[in-house]
């Protein structure tokens, strides 16, 4: 029998898209009939890059006895997964163990194809236990909360297919939904990702100065540069061998030498070599600060910002790996001292590129806290919504809690900025992205510090007693520590 894939109209689109933009189980239950819910799930898997066949009218024994069959476009004849839709009252008794066993039996009778039982309600614990047992590995239970995660991830990962619909470039397999990142072993470090798809808002400056402020509190910091512009890297040159006999250069007559570059960069990790991250951690000229440096080649291997859940989760696991520690200095060959113990980092601060790139996504996937720098102007505020969508998308992927905060940078005491700040105080509370109390002012010391650091000097913004930016970044860091519970 020829396979007839479901086709969707613009009427379907206008009906179903609100559930992507603002996923809500209550609204789904209120607005969709059981038949509508089946069609909506078809639309959801279509958006997620699959071809979908409605088989709800084909009952056993001649049909598969489920509602939908989904196919990967690369293999349009082989059923990839079978879907059973159950639109139940989220507050009601929900699906029973018998429902799950019946679904498992249907899957066995229909052939060894994975099946997803998707409901707006929840599953009883005995049904969940049964679904994980031997002989039932093909049975996947998707409850209302998991369905919302999948919808959120698909929404933030699609592109226009040229025919007025948004679909992911590759089918998004829902398997990741069942392996929450929060359950894995992880580093004790707090991972702070500084992200905003808009350029020039102070991402690298914020990552750098939060790093300096934390290190001045005696914390061990790993700064991760995921921006191919490598601005953060250039401010953190490697530690040069110290010659104790060298004379101190005179300030006026001997400008600092151009610093060395890091020999190894994180590009090695993402390129064909796949070098493990712990091998790429480099020391810097600053106490307590290490760096995973970037170089411009990182931009050339950028694979784009569409959905790659496996790669995104992989990086999150690697950055959270307890083996990512302060590198130990090789002990003297003649010394009998045992190697010093591996110290975990206290904080890992990740700088991201502008634009919604793969590297921004993986950095957010790993984050315990997303710090979003923002200028108080209308263009920046309009652009911030994309950054917030990216944050929600990656949080849906990992299923882990993530703190969030907006930080106003390049602040000036002018009327337009004060008006925007006041409105943001209300709107960001509603969004769940509370603003930082501290404002980072426009301060020329920031630029002077950048010049000093890039040209091999050691003076950062905290080296000026009168720097208002330094005071602000200290306050931001203290607030950040409170918010992450450090």
């Amino acid at each position: 029998m020829a396979i007839e894939f479901m086709e969707f109209t613009h009427e379907d689109k206008s009906r179903f898209e609100p559930f992507f933009q603002a996923p809500s189980i209550d609204k789904m239950h209120a607005d969709l009939s059981p038949t509508d819910f089946e069609r909506f799930l078809g639309y959801m898997f279509f958006s997620a890059g699959f071809n979908v066949e409605n088989v709800s009218l084909r009952r056993m024994p001649r049909g598969p006895g489920v509602d939908l069959n989904v196919y990967q476009p690369a293999n349009p004849r082989k059923v990839f997964a079978r879907i059973e839709a159950r639109r139940y009252d989220p507050e009601g008794s929900g699906i029973t163990l018998e429902d799950v066993l019946r679904f498992a039996g249907t899957l066995v009778a229909a052939g060894a194809v994975p099946g997803y039982l998707i409901t707006t309600a929840s599953f009883p614990s005995n049904a969940r236990q049964v679904a994980g047992r031997a002989g039932m590995q093909n049975v996947h239970l998707v409850d209302g909360a998991t369905l919302l995660r999948y919808l959120t991830y698909v929404y933030g990962s699609r592109v226009n297919n040229g025919q007025g619909f948004h679909r992911t470039l590759q089918p998004i397999l829902p398997g990741w939904l069942f392996n929450s990142l929060s359950k894995s072993t992880r580093t004790p470090a707090h991972i702070i990702t500084v992200a905003n798809n808009k350029g020039g808002v102070g991402k690298s400056t914020t990552a750098l100065n939060v790093g300096f402020a934390l290190s001045s509190m005696g914390k061990r910091i790993l700064l991760v540069d995921l921006d191919g512009q490598a601005n953060l890297t250039s401010a953190l040159p490697p530690r040069e061998p110290i010659d104790p006999h060298a004379r101190r250069p005179r300030r006026q007559t001997q400008p600092p030498r151009a610093p060395q570059l890091h020999e190894r960069t994180i590009t090695e990790h993402f390129s064909l070599e796949h070098t493990p991250l712990p091998q790429l951690v480099q020391s810097t000229r600053f106490d307590n600060i290490w760096v995973l440096p970037a170089d411009e080649e990182l931009s050339r291997i950028e694979p784009g910002g569409s959905a790659q859940p496996d790669a995104e989760l992989l990086f999150a696991h690697q950055l959270r790996d307890p083996q990512l520690c302060v590198p130990t200095v090789p002990s003297d060959a003649v010394s009998a001292d045992p190697a010093p113990p591996a110290h975990p980092f206290d904080f890992i601060v990740v700088d991201t590129p502008p634009a919604q790139s793969h590297f921004s996504r993986i950095a957010l996937a790993a984050a315990d806290f997303a710090l979003v720098p923002l200028r108080a102007d209308s263009f920046s505020v309009a652009g911030i919504n994309r950054a917030l969508t990216a944050t929600r998308t990656m949080q849906a992927l990992t299923g882990s809690p993530m703190g969030k905060g907006l930080l106003l940078t390049q602040w000036r005491e002018v009327r337009s900025m004060r008006d925007i700040q006041a409105k943001l105080n209300v709107d960001t509370a509603l969004l769940g992205y509370p603003m930082f109390d501290a404002l980072v002012p426009y301060d020329d010391h920031i630029e002077q510090a950048h010049i000093s650091l890039i040209s091999g000097g050691l003076r950062n913004v905290f080296g000026w007693r009168a720097s208002s930016a330094a005071t602000a970044y200290r306050k931001v860091t203290e607030e950040l520590m409170r918010r992450v519970g450090a």
Binding site: A22, P244, V329, P340, D377
Partner: protein, 168 residues
């Protein structure tokens, strides 16, 4: 472990020893240990070895950092400042899925009322600038034409006008 600086430099005078005095005393103690006589040469040797050790031994670096912090000059305690009132935080009473930030959107007091409730409306209004409050007055005026305060409204005047009509 006791340090040379604390064992050999007794705080005999009222003033604590200077950094130079501490360095000299430490070098003298070290030189005495080796029965060397040149204290200045010992001071240079100690500093250079410490620098090398700093590079290769993180726990040594931590000790140096701690001692550096300990040696900070003690400042006279200042009178504590009056406690600054914490900035009020708004907590929404219900969610608005799909909500987007828009700096050009007018401040709508009924929107605030719906999502933050009656008890937080005044707090949210007090956070606003007079420019934003004028926008809110215009929103109220659209529902209740001819009621807006005449002339330039003060912040307090604007807030009480908005509260009066929105909480009706």
């Amino acid at each position: 472990m006791t340090t040379p600086a604390t064992t050999t430099v007794g705080n005999t005078a009222d003033k604590p020893p200077t950094y130079a005095q501490r360095a000299t005393a430490a070098a003298a103690a070290a030189a005495g240990r080796f029965t060397f006589s040149d204290e200045k040469r010992m001071q240079a040797a100690l500093t250079e070895i410490a620098l090398e050790e700093l590079e290769r031994n993180p726990s040594f670096a931590v000790r140096v950092r701690n001692r550096y912090e300990e040696l900070a000059p003690v400042k006279a305690a200042r009178a504590p400042k009056a406690a600054k009132a914490a900035k009020p935080k708004l907590v929404p009473i219900k969610e608005l899925p799909g909500f987007q930030l828009d700096a050009t959107r007018r401040l709508d007091p009924w929107f605030i009322l719906e999502y933050f409730g009656e008890t937080q409306l005044e707090t949210a209004l007090r956070m606003q600038t007079i420019g934003n409050l004028r926008e809110a007055i215009a929103v109220v005026e659209e529902r209740y034409p001819g009621t807006a305060p005449k002339g330039k409204a003060t912040k307090d005047g604007a807030i009480s006008y908005i509260l009066e009509y929105v909480l009706r």
